[in-house]
Point group: C2
């Protein structure tokens, strides 16, 4: 079965040949354009293509332009922009820690990444300066286990854990390569993972200090830079998921781990699930902010957490929450009840404290009080009227109030919501985003999706 | 105003004379009956009557029969029972730490309490052996401030804090006397109390150790026995209430502190209050167990707490709870919602723990699961179907299941419920116990009851 999988994900000879030709052409073009602009640079392709660990459908090329340290970041940016405009179609400028350009060349998505040429990864000026060193380490140590890396990457992709970006919070290609180097084979990686206890620590050269990364579930010291945890992007959730998937695969290997089926319930099925649960869904949707995915997804996670805390603080019980970003972005919250009673128990100061009379007088006069202040144990308490007992109203009021950024909503989400949003409740939320809601209301592991 | 109050609560000369005559007659009769039975005893009246701190409507007489230590408890009990049967009408036998008898003599409720004659309160065999020493201490130290004691007692009665019994959890008569002795007058007691910080500690002879009574809000070392806190029965709630009432009285003294009005809303008013709150009331009622009040009320408090914990553990949110014992006993709980959703979030073991597969397999097969087990962070979780989402059904099922005592329900309550109970919800609970529900839904301090 694994051979069958490998056949599907390994580039053919023809594909490999074509990829090499495209890379050479690209290196030649970029190199001569850089010279023409007067820059003294080296041009090379790094990443999975150069390491021969790319998957057949991954046609992306990462082209690095290595500048001497004498140039400023601005000069690097301007140079790759000029060259990108000349050579690539559909050019986009991207800004991570470092600017780079992205476009299409001969049918391949290409990133032209400027970096500094350093002697040692530890001397890096920018994070991307490490990449050439990663390349060398993998080439020197992988020893022909390219197939194992491909299987591991496809396995991770299948279970939804492939990629260090904020959308995924999973395993990068480089991390997959290091795991194969460390354990020796795809199956040896799964076997090790199925026994990992948090934190699992891997230090190939023995020069790192795992204690530097408190809270990280997996610590893999970068052999080119002991200051760095290659697995720092991995979430606890995906760490857990991977260890369980590994165990399940070893017990009964199936192709569905590598090639899961999509699962999208109809609106009726989703409505039926919701009715059976007897819970309430409240959804806010708005236009997806135009910002790179890494920022978008990390802000979405923060926004969901913030809104959840705010709902909980106001007395609602949240069972589940999540977000989905496509054309529109939705944040979804599953509540025990949409409507709370009018009466809310409000605790005040201790009896016999300095400000007790303020509290008592205030609530005796107040129109919001449902009854008089009373003593419970040694605290003052009073039942007050809830302004907005309906979660939908409450949520709407909160996000209509503007100043969302001040309230802790991440900037791009705040701006987008302030430009316009919709609150939806109940079954109407299933008009769109049905794939998201399928997993939200009826979770299955991807490899189980082929089951009835 | 205080003179007016004092006039209403101080026994008239005629009343005092009558009381003395009754006491003397009683002492004579009991003494000669004891002699006739061959017992070598002393007979005396102690308590507020002997100390001249009784209130005009308190006609109770506490008659003590002091036996030498050579007699067994059984002999004491038999002796006072025989004598009680001869002298009192409507005899009841009561059992506290110590048996005693209760009946009527010449229109006065009388308790005949057997105790041991000891040289020092510290040598007591039974708790009641202390009483003669209390009497002597108060007589020796009160110095004519009987009116102050009477005012304090009536004040405590008015605000609902008079009595050390489990029903009240307040201040005993002896404690009131000690407070007047310590501070000098009724108003000085209130002044001191309005400044008390928990724990407030009073040690008249300076021979006690307040640290022996952790958690007690008020510590008053018994001058006849430094091992004992005279205020040990006082609840935190009543400690707090008294300090606040004291402060309010000093600010604006009113007769309503001493003589509060009863307050009972009509069924319609109560129903209106409940609707306005938007909450749910659930009530269980059963026949009041025939057991002395101290045991009844302490068991009621425990039962309410236990049922409340059980409801909370099952996902219900409790805003208020209480109990009332008359002909029937009711336990009442005010909930945010009566019905929870079908779906209940159930957390399981950690991912990659030994028993994770048991959990996953169990819930995959289970008909109770609403969807598959999933991973949340590093824990397994699954939504399961709630068997009884309605609090009324849930509660009914719990208390129908018998074995209540095994589940922690105090013995007399458990037995009474098992003999038959009723669950009521919503406005129907206002058919009875309207005074209780008036305070439950619309709390006011007793001294405010004359306000509109």
């Amino acid at each position: 079965m694994m051979d069958e999988v490998l056949k599907q994900i390994t580039p053919t000879e023809a594909e490999t040949r074509e990829m090499k030709e495209v890379c050479q052409a690209l290196i030649g073009l970029v190199g001569s354009e850089m010279s023409r602009l007067g820059f003294d640079v080296q041009v090379a392709v790094y990443g999975s293509v150069s390491r021969d660990t790319w998957l057949t459908h991954e046609k992306d090329i990462d082209l690095f332009v290595k500048f001497p340290a004498k140039y400023s970041k601005k000069e690097l940016e301007d140079a790759v922009t000029l060259v990108g405009e000349k050579i690539l179609t559909g050019l986009e400028k991207r800004f991570a820690e470092h600017p780079y350009v992205r476009g299409i060349f001969s049918g391949h998505p290409v990133e032209i990444v400027p970096c500094y040429r350093v002697e040692d990864a530890k001397d890096r000026i920018s994070a991307v300066d490490r990449t050439p060193f990663h390349d060398r380490f993998v080439r020197d140590n992988l020893g022909g286990r390219h197939g194992d890396v491909r299987l591991l990457k496809q396995f991770l992709r299948g279970i939804g854990c492939y990629g260090a970006e904020a959308r995924v919070e999973g395993f990068s290609g480089y991390l997959s390569e290091l795991l194969v180097i460390r354990y020796g084979s795809f199956e040896a990686v799964l076997k090790a993972a199925s026994e990992w206890k948090r934190p699992a620590s891997i230090d190939l050269l023995g020069d790192g200090d795992g204690a530097r990364f408190p809270g990280d579930p997996l610590i893999v010291i970068d052999p080119t830079d002991p200051q760095r945890n290659v697995a720092s992007a991995l979430s606890l959730q995906n760490f857990s998921l991977f260890t369980f998937a590994a165990k399940q695969f070893l017990k009964s290997p199936k192709e569905s781990f590598f090639f899961p089926k999509k699962r999208v319930h109809s609106k009726d099925v989703l409505a039926g699930l919701l009715r059976r649960r007897g819970t309430e869904i409240i959804q806010v949707s708005f236009q997806t902010p135009s910002v790179i995915d890494d920022i978008l997804y990390s802000q979405l996670k923060k926004a969901v957490k913030l809104f959840e805390q705010m709902l909980v603080k106001s007395g609602f019980t949240i069972l589940n929450s999540g977000s989905s970003a496509g054309e529109n972005t939705v944040l979804a919250f599953e509540l025990e009840h949409r409507v709370l009673p009018n009466a809310r128990l409000h605790f005040g100061p201790h009896v016999n404290s300095k400000n007790e009379l303020d509290f008592v007088e205030k609530h005796r006069e107040s129109k919001k009080a449902l009854g008089r202040p009373f003593i419970r144990g040694e605290r003052w308490a009073v039942f007050v009227k809830r302004e907005t007992p309906d979660a939908a109203d409450f949520f709407k009021q909160f996000i209509s109030s503007k100043k969302l950024k001040k309230k802790g909503v991440p900037s791009y989400i705040a701006a987008s919501i302030e430009a316009g949003f919709e609150i939806a409740i109940g079954e109407s939320v299933f008009e769109n985003n049905r794939e998201f809601y399928t997993q939200f209301l009826d979770p299955k592991f991807p490899w189980e999706n082929s089951d009835v």
